[in-house]
Symmetry: C2
Subunit: 346 residues, 2 copies
């Protein structure tokens, strides 16, 4: 579900806890105008769009996903549309909105209106502006996956007093040069499309290339084992229908600039692990083509006594966070357990 397709938002002046009578899921949305001093783009006036679900008094966990994630993490009575991490937020899960307050936002740049380099540090500063506006002194936890993990690391360096614990899944202190090259070529595919107003085709191709980086050989070998066909004089391989669908689906919900600027943002990541100021659980996926295990081992080494490493093996590679939800939930439970019962976090 794209931010641009969501229902009208609650005005920023009404905090979510006042948005209506108390209900179990208690989800609300808001928009917040902020002035942000950005690292590469000067000072900008932006609108932050957030969603929050869970009791007002519960400890708050911020959830941030990959560059195509958004504020609608999971379905609720108020917002029944499918969320991007429905399997991780719900009854009986570590992130159960009956017991924890789950907060998320649309990344700065996600609406495609900001055509300038966006540093992951800018996202962390924007999150602090949001916490201030919502009067959240301290998060119990920040769970970041992929780009969200980059942002979490920035938050833990720049504003360590604002979170008790970071869980960083499949994201590191620096982009791997090979993954950076892969993303740069995706951006070139977009540029090639833009050359002559074929923006959609360029973005679709970029997304398809990205999808290869998110998944593994194992998965493709299982799903797309059929021999290629010759169709209209061209060879068409088994995965092409799937990839075309992936591209079309992405184009329908993603402004070109949002993709370009958030893709760039991943490559701007530059954190000194020793500067991280909060206990951090790093979850690595063996077989992740974008974020090699070795890089996350390096991150944890740099974190010193604040760092804990958990390793998953998954045929879903970089996308394991969204697929291996039972195992991820168990890891989240362990990571957030130590922070439980801290009444000052909401």
């Amino acid at each position: 579900m794209s931010p641009v397709k969501e229902p009208p938002t609650v005005p920023a002046s009404i905090p979510p806890t006042n948005a209506g009578p108390a209900r179990t899921s208690h989800a609300s949305r808001g928009e917040l105008p902020v002035v942000l001093a950005m690292r590469h783009a000067g000072t900008r006036t932006l609108t932050l769009r957030y969603e929050v679900q869970g009791p007002a008094a519960a400890p708050v966990v911020f959830v941030a996903g990959g560059i195509s994630a958004h504020r609608h993490v999971s379905a609720s009575a108020e917002f029944p549309e499918k969320g991007w991490a429905d399997e991780l937020v719900g009854e009986g899960r570590t992130l159960d909105p009956a017991h924890r307050r789950v907060l998320a936002f649309d990344f700065v740049g996600a609406d495609g209106k900001l055509d300038a380099p966006i540093d992951p540090a800018d996202q962390a500063d924007a999150i602090v502006a949001l916490l201030d506006a919502l009067e959240i002194e301290r998060l119990q936890g920040f769970v970041g996956y992929s780009y969200g993990a980059l942002v979490g690391l920035q938050l833990a360096v720049r504003h360590p007093q604002r979170l008790q614990r970071l869980v960083a899944v499949s994201g590191a202190h620096r982009a791997h040069p090979y993954a950076a090259a892969w993303r740069a070529l995706q951006r070139k595919a977009v540029a090639l499309g833009q050359l002559q107003c074929a923006d959609a085709q360029g973005l679709s191709l970029a997304r398809q290339f990205a999808m290869l980086s998110y998944r593994t050989q194992e998965e493709f070998a299982e799903r797309f084992d059929a021999l290629p066909e010759v169709v209209n004089g061209r060879v068409r391989v088994a995965a092409e229908d799937y990839l075309d669908a992936v591209g079309a689906q992405y184009v329908a919900r993603t402004p070109v600039n949002a993709f370009l600027r958030l893709s760039e943002s991943i490559d701007l990541q530059n954190v000194d692990p020793a500067a991280v100021g909060v206990p951090t659980t790093v979850i690595a996926v063996e077989g992740d083509r974008l974020v090699p295990l070795a890089d996350l081992v390096g991150l944890v080494e740099g974190l010193g006594r604040l760092g804990t490493l958990r390793i998953l093996r998954s045929p879903y590679g970089h996308d394991a966070f969204l697929k291996e939800t039972d195992r991820i939930d168990a890891l989240l439970s362990h990571a957030l357990h130590s922070a439980d019962g801290a009444g000052d976090s909401a």
Copy 2:
């Protein structure tokens, strides 16, 4: 060195062994018109372009490389331009043109004039037509790397009497579905370029994506460790200069259709390993992103008593054949040694 840039060829009617007085390197070129019954493209009249180097009486080894390789394998007195495998063919090497006659050709489709699906089996049939014309009854060996290995496997199935031994490096009996998807997206990059008369940009992008599949994370981590820069408001990562150069170089020497049709051809590969009729050494590179070790283990299992597996570990991945030349030479020496002294092969 591209076929299109080479000097005028020797007429096909003059066999290479009569092309001039005997010299040490004794290299010659020729063109041969053939009528080829193709698997997906009907019967076509084509021109085969070959080059041969070494004494007329020496055993003949056919060398075939990746889809961008060509007939000029190595520099010689007659053709001093750089070859695509100079490090593997020369004095003191297993493929020493003083002792072996090295034969190669431009793949069918390499001139870009054949705009139709080309099966690797078609290449094998073309090679047999060439051997017939050159009156070569039997090759001592066929050394195929990447696409060349696919063609070698086809030759060993369809015409086993024409070769004593096959050495298949980094190429299998079937394309891996993930690698096939990767190539399909390269072809889409070309199509996106063609959509807008930006053929060169599309082909350049395709080549850059291909290059990522040929190399490894390790190599990129070593070569391109610098932080990205913001140039003209865009993020530019460390590998981009290199990749741009790779793309431009390729575009300058490759017809778009040659790339498209030979890329497709890889995906058309479909050989039953049990049908291979000659002793075969399979060389696999651990860390090859295109041809996983597991697929070559499967190939060797299918070959039964005719198969031998050798495994290299290299940071150059799929391109190890062109980079780990000392180790490849040692493996070739071992593989071709058993076939040595067979006077009937030239």
